[in-house]
Amino acid sequence: MNAVAAQITRQQWIERFAGLGFAAPAFILLVLTNLAPLAALASLSFTNYELGALNFSFVGLKNFSTALHDPVIRRSVTNTLLYVAIVVPGGVLISLFVAILIHQRKRTRSLYEVIYFLPVTSTLIAMATMWQFLLHPTLGLINQTLKGLGFAGTAFLSEPRLAIPTLAAIGIWQLVGFNMVLFLAGLSAIPRDLYEAVDIDGASHPIDRFLKVTWPMLGPTTMFVTVTTFITAFKIFDTVAVMTRGGPGGASEVLLYAIYLEGFQYFHMSYAATLTLVFLAFTLVFSVLQTFILDRRVHY
């Protein structure tokens, strides 16, 4: 009896020791690369620190009120939200539509899968450069085709009203394959007899089948895809940095690009910290949702 008890205690000691040892490197890195920087970020936003400054002081909420009245920041937030408002419904619905069409294919399925997925693995910066050529107002293939069809040429990236929608189209182009794969997995998980059941009920029209079976059964997948798409869209940076740099005339300034400029080009560290907090506030609800869904979703 004593020997068993002693063994349990010994095992408990081993588990404590090993557990702490195994978790320690991760914990230290978590503090160094995540928690401490976040605390520093929050404190910075109440100061007037600039990179290289020898002293700085506490300024309270001044940075926040500056941000609130900064036309660049207001524009950046509006533009980011406009971008999100196009990319989220577009990126979710188009990929759902494509997934449903591809799911029913047998011989051609993997071919389409590869084609639609290709943009996900390709380096966006390289592809953005190619899009820039394709969209060139006079020489670009797209405008030449439009002209050939009798339409007027369009300056997609240099027309202020079109800059964000054009970037959004490229954003959707990059996202569709990724979301499609998630939807395809969701579609495969729908039991066939559900469709047979609605067929018996006389609802054999594809739209009936979609509304009665596919859409409700895909609910959790759609929710997850929507949330991740929102987070990805909100982080738009690459295409702006390469293709428009916020132009023309600030028409494509977005939040992450504004943070990049303030923090790492102008070195207004405290102001950039404030903007990062604004950025965090916008994404937080969705990040929490994503984590919550992930916690229920990942299972084997």
Partner: protein, 274 residues
């Protein structure tokens, strides 16, 4: 007959979409082998009248250290992945299978970490790296990503379903915890490790934000940053060479995807996060 029409319609829609998806790839590959005069011709042709591929690739490779960019990408992605796995696997095992003080708090912190976008801590990290004088080093490019809370989270879920009896039996045989992790549990978690590895490499190979911030030395540029320098340089107006450069930058991951298609897709399905 109606079936046939609807089938044709479905393929028409899918092919239309496929053309849009492939457009920049086709344009890139064809421009890379065209002489400057042919790239922006009004009628698009797949094959040039005059094959100019050698000249384009040659001038791309001689003006920008493209192969160096690829090597940098390999070093940075490889370094990040190795440390991520070495740190996350034991921690995930501890969270899944060991009872130790602070475990619930640590797991809450992991969940909290999942909610924080990578761009959030970048400002303080940059200041710290600048103070330490380690900007423009491989370490500064990799360090912020050494800890992947997502890896811990994913592996923990995977390890939780590993049978306790096997671990107990190994313990009774006198196998230490360290060996249990690396020689017994890890081999069974191969699908999760493969999925995470693909996720990690794709994310960091294509990341522009952080390298753009910490690197100003062209020699250290990762593929996307190198591509940006390249497009900004005077060669940016040599469209054929630029397309050739873009081909070289894009090729490794796309080829890897075409070879290991199933693993990529399984990986995305399992991780489902960017």
């Amino acid at each position: 007959m109606r079936r046939l029409v609807s089938l044709a319609l479905v393929h028409a829609v899918l092919i239309g979409g496929a053309v849009f998806m492939l457009l920049p790839f086709v344009f890139m590959l064809t421009s890379a082998i065209k002489p400057p005069g042919e790239i922006f011709e009004a009628t698009f042709r797949l094959w040039p009248r005059q094959f100019y591929g050698w000249q384009n690739f040659e001038s791309a490779l001689s003006t920008a250290p493209l192969l160096r960019f690829l090597l940098n990408g390999l070093i940075v992605c490889g370094g990040i992945l190795v440390v991520q796995l070495l740190v996350a696997i034991p921690c995930a095992y501890a969270l899944a299978k060991l009872r130790f003080p602070g475990r619930p708090i640590l797991f809450s912190l992991v969940l909290l970490g999942l909610c924080i976008p990578v761009q959030a801590p970048s400002l303080p990290l940059y200041i710290a790296f600048a103070e330490l004088g380690i900007l423009n080093t491989y370490l500064s490019m990799m360090m912020p990503f050494f800890l992947s809370v997502f890896a811990i989270f994913l592996f923990r879920q995977f390890f939780k379903s590993y049978p306790d009896e096997i671990i107990q039996a190994a313990r009774l045989d006198g196998v230490g915890e360290f060996e249990i992790v690396w020689r017994i549990v890890v081999p069974s978690a191969w699908p999760a490790i493969a999925a995470f590895s693909i996720f990690s490499v794709v994310a960091h190979w294509n990341d522009l934000y952080w390298p753009l911030i910490v690197v100003s030395d062209t020699k250290l540029a990762t593929p996307p940053l190198g591509m940006m320098y390249f497009a900004d340089s005077e060669l940016g107006s040599n469209y054929g060479a630029l397309a050739a450069g873009a081909t070289i930058i894009t090729a490794p991951l796309v080829i890897a995807f075409l070879i290991a298609r199933r693993h990529f897709i399984a990986g995305i399905t399992m991780t489902g996060i960017k």
